[in-house]
């Protein structure tokens, strides 16, 4: 129960994308990290849990304005993501690319695709099988921070690796 409330508070505090729109794929294979009890997600203490991936490994990397190159900080985060994915082969991932609101809708969709692809390429270069990863761009459609200045933009220019269970068919 302590874990749960902590988790929920974290979710609220960080305004994580996965928390705000858990069902955006309309796909039951996506782990709902915000569901009560987080049964699928496990706990943040379990290194094999998606919640651990999200909170401890770090599910996102940030980008400079207009850029899709990975900073050294981003690479360190992605090293952890690659390690986790190599260890936890029961999961796949969707890499979501996002842009801040400065820019046209179309350009930002393309920019988000570039960012997601940078992460994809990096994870594959670290040994993660490409067929476990999908990329999607949301352009500027799903900001997590709402203000209209650089403090928020910096957090919105992101690629988020969303863990999903492999369908058990």
């Amino acid at each position: 129960m302590t874990y749960l409330s902590k988790t929920l508070m974290l979710c609220a505090g960080l305004a994580l994308a996965a928390c705000s729109s858990p069902d955006r794929f309309g796909d039951s294979n996506t782990v709902d990290l915000n569901s009560a009890g987080g049964t699928m997600a496990g706990t943040a203490q379990d290194p094999a849990s998606p919640l651990y991936f999200q909170q401890t490994v770090g599910d996102r990397v940030l980008f400079q304005v207009d850029q899709s190159t990975l900073t050294s900080t981003a690479q360190a985060t992605l090293d952890g993501q690659a390690q986790w994915l190599l260890t936890n082969t029961d999961y796949n991932a969707v890499i979501e690319g996002h842009a801040d609101e400065q820019g046209t809708r179309e350009y930002n969709l393309a920019l988000g695709a570039r960012r997601a692809n940078s992460v994809h390429e990096y994870l594959v270069s670290k040994g993660v099988a490409g067929n476990r990863l999908k990329v999607i761009s949301y352009g500027k459609e799903r900001p997590i921070e709402l203000c209209s200045n650089e403090a928020c933009y910096a957090k919105n220019r992101r690629a988020v690796t969303v863990i999903s269970a492999i369908p058990s068919s």
């Binding site: 705000s20 729109s21 796909d27 400065q102 046209t104 809708r105 350009y107 969709l109 692809n117 709402l146």
Partner: protein
Amino acid sequence: MMRYVLSLLVALAFWVAPVVAQDGPLRIEITEGVIEPLPFAAPDFVSDNATGADLGRKIADVVAADLTGTGLFREIQPDAFISRVTSFSSPVQFADWKAINTQALITGAVTADGNGKLVVRFRLYDVFAGQELGQGLQLEGTQDGWRRMAHKVADQVYSRITGEAPYFDSRVVFVAESGPKDQRSKRLAIMDYDGANVSYLTDSTSIVLAPRFSPDGKRVLYTSYESGFPRIYVMDVGAVQRRVLESQDGQMSFAPRFGPDGRAVLYSVSRGGNTDLYRMDIDSGASTRLTTAPSIETAPSFSPDGSQIVFESDRSGTPQLYVMPAGGGEAQRISFGQGRYGTPVWSPRGDLIAFTKQSKGRFHIGVMRTDGSEERLLTASFLDEGPTWSPNGRVIMFTRETQGAQGSASLYSVDITGRNLRQVGTTTGASDPSWSPLQD
């Protein structure tokens, strides 16, 4: 006097100021200064029954709203009227209308029967010349279609006085928005050009973006996330039925736009992080890749003759506008001003390209000639984007988004002269407008 105004408006339409129009004894010089709107009166259209009188009042109101909405006309309020129009066939008392400085007088009659049928007749008078301008006209339709008939009357008036093609009897497909920025719901919606008669084409379960009308106004291309990934769909507006147009696994497709023949469709595909332009024949589904550069190529738009494509690319390092042949091939950069350019749209007249420009932290809607010369910015705000042309190429509608956590999107229109900026009334937030052709 009417001739004076007529010349003035026609000259305005060509935008290249200054123009000297000389017609009879009058001499007018058009400058960038404020123009004096033409005073007109549109008394309630008369009818011999209550249903008709109600519709007659509403039709006259819509005609007046259409005309004043252009910024080129000014309505004389009914409380100033000296003459009352009680019969469509009685002679007009020109002196009474002159006395209150009415230059154009619109009279009309409505016949509404018990079966829902509606007949609208109208006449347009040049008051100072003391004669009709053009012929009286009769329109027949249904009573629930009274708004369209009003728009058609206003279209006639606008055309006869300005010499321009009209645009009031048209629709706009757009994205209706609700909810906070980080969980915004988006639905495809369609409405009359003036914001009336909204109906929804999709529910809010999936993000939808950037709908675009076909040249006949019967179909709409748009991008939806309903599969989980952005893909292009085509919807039959009448039947509200849609099918996916482009759905290869592992890629995203967006920014679709019809060509002038209604068969060719331009769009962007992102694959492996690279976004390029494609062209598809919508009937056969056969597609051709038009660009192969590692840069972003998106937001394509055909010239009205179908021979060229204007698009946005960041091959130079920042997003700029380029023109290439319709089959692909070498592209010429046309934007050279300071800043970033996007979402180019060729005007229906073929002479201008409208675009979004981002410069020094502000966004603008602008127009330039097709070779990039004579760039002019029409608007400025925190975020203006996505221009669409009125059917006659005189007006541009676009999205304006306000800043901050409470920021929301709405639709605005502006003349290509840069005058007459106004918000389009919508009951929800609204973005990504696409203006239909004039309806039949």
